[in-house]
Amino acid sequence: MAFATSDQGGRRAGPGRDTAVTPVKIVIAGGFGAGKTTFVGTVSEIVPLTTEAVMTAVAERVDDVRGVPGKQTTTVAMDFGRVTLDSDLVLYLFGTPGQTRFWFMWDDLCRGAIGAIVLVDTRRLADSFSAVDYFEDFGLPYIIGVNCFDGKLVHEVSDIREALSVPPDVPVVTLDARDREPVKAALIRLVQQSVSFRTRVGADSKPVSSGIG
């Protein structure tokens, strides 16, 4: 297409490309230090970026002028990466904000997501409880990824499953977040889980009530 962009040299502007590219996303959750950013960086084609959302603490009383001195804003940071899967398909991996009190961000993250991988550091299992609970409540397909630091699995997978009270149909995989192949395998396992989740929902002929959002 011949759009004159004068001083832009050979650089092509958007209009030349009319192929629609579909974005999809996967959520990478887990406690602080569980390896989320490492996991994202292992498969991302870009250096993981950090995006920030600013929230005003307790959104009510925003219009209260007297509230200015006491106004509290918090910045919620999320790391994310990108993986081009095909010429018309791009996958984004979003790490959840570390602090689980920012549930409002999790809703935005999970809406429309393929699913989530809950990364578990076996030395701090309890850090993963809230993420598991959240995805169960949200109805988002998820798997557990046990990050084996130094290649060592400290606990048996069955013990981890029991400790986290994960339903039997939720896969628990082990991986090293620094290794590309196991990270890829975990992503594939999650998408398969999402497929079976969708199939099951379809078979039950129970519509997914996502509401208006």
């Binding site: 297409m1 759009f3 962009t5 650089r11 092509r12 502007a13 958007g14 209009p15 490309r17 629609a20 590219v21 579909t22 974005p23 999809v24 996303k25 498969v43 970026l49 950090t50 995006t51 920030e52 959302a53 600013v54 910045t75 999320m78 994310f80 990108r82 993986v83 899967l85 095909d86 398909l89 791009v90 996958l91 984004y92 979003f94 935005d108 993250l109 809406r111 429309g112 997501a113 393929i114 988002l140 890829k184 992503l187 594939i188 998408v191 398969q192 999402s194 497929v195 969708r198 199939t199 519509p207 997914v208 996502s210 959002g213």
Partner: protein, 117 residues
């Protein structure tokens, strides 16, 4: 403008959007933004934040990438992209998940893509 060197880089974007932090169009953070021919031609007339978005999106970028690369909060970025889209200066590809989650055909394409990585 800019007399306070230590001012938060977040202040100006909020001023530009008139304090709005939510777009009308509920953009997903992974929605893909591409500058249109019209956007490319008129971007030099826009306020800097809007122009930067147009310039950045000569190749598609997600809303999250725009926010990260231009160091703007997500909400403000959504407002700017929403404004640009309403004026036809960028096109936006929202995720293909009408009932809240990707359908089976899309999941199959993702599986194939991941296996080919």
């Amino acid at each position: 403008m800019g007399s306070e060197g230590e001012a938060s880089p977040f202040v100006r974007p909020y001023a530009v959007t008139g304090g709005r932090t939510q777009s009308h169009s509920q953009l997903a953070m992974e929605a893909l933004v591409t500058t249109t021919a019209r956007g490319w031609n008129v971007m030099h007339t826009l306020v800097p934040e809007y122009e930067k978005v147009c310039r950045l999106c000569s190749e598609f970028k997600s809303v999250a990438e725009i926010a990260a690369l231009l160091r703007m909060p997500l909400g403000v970025t959504g407002v700017i992209v929403g404004d640009l889209a309403e004026s036809g200066l960028v096109s936006v590809q929202q995720p293909d998940s009408p009932d809240g989650q990707p359908d089976l055909a899309l999941l199959e394409r993702v599986l194939i893509g991941l296996r080919n990585l």
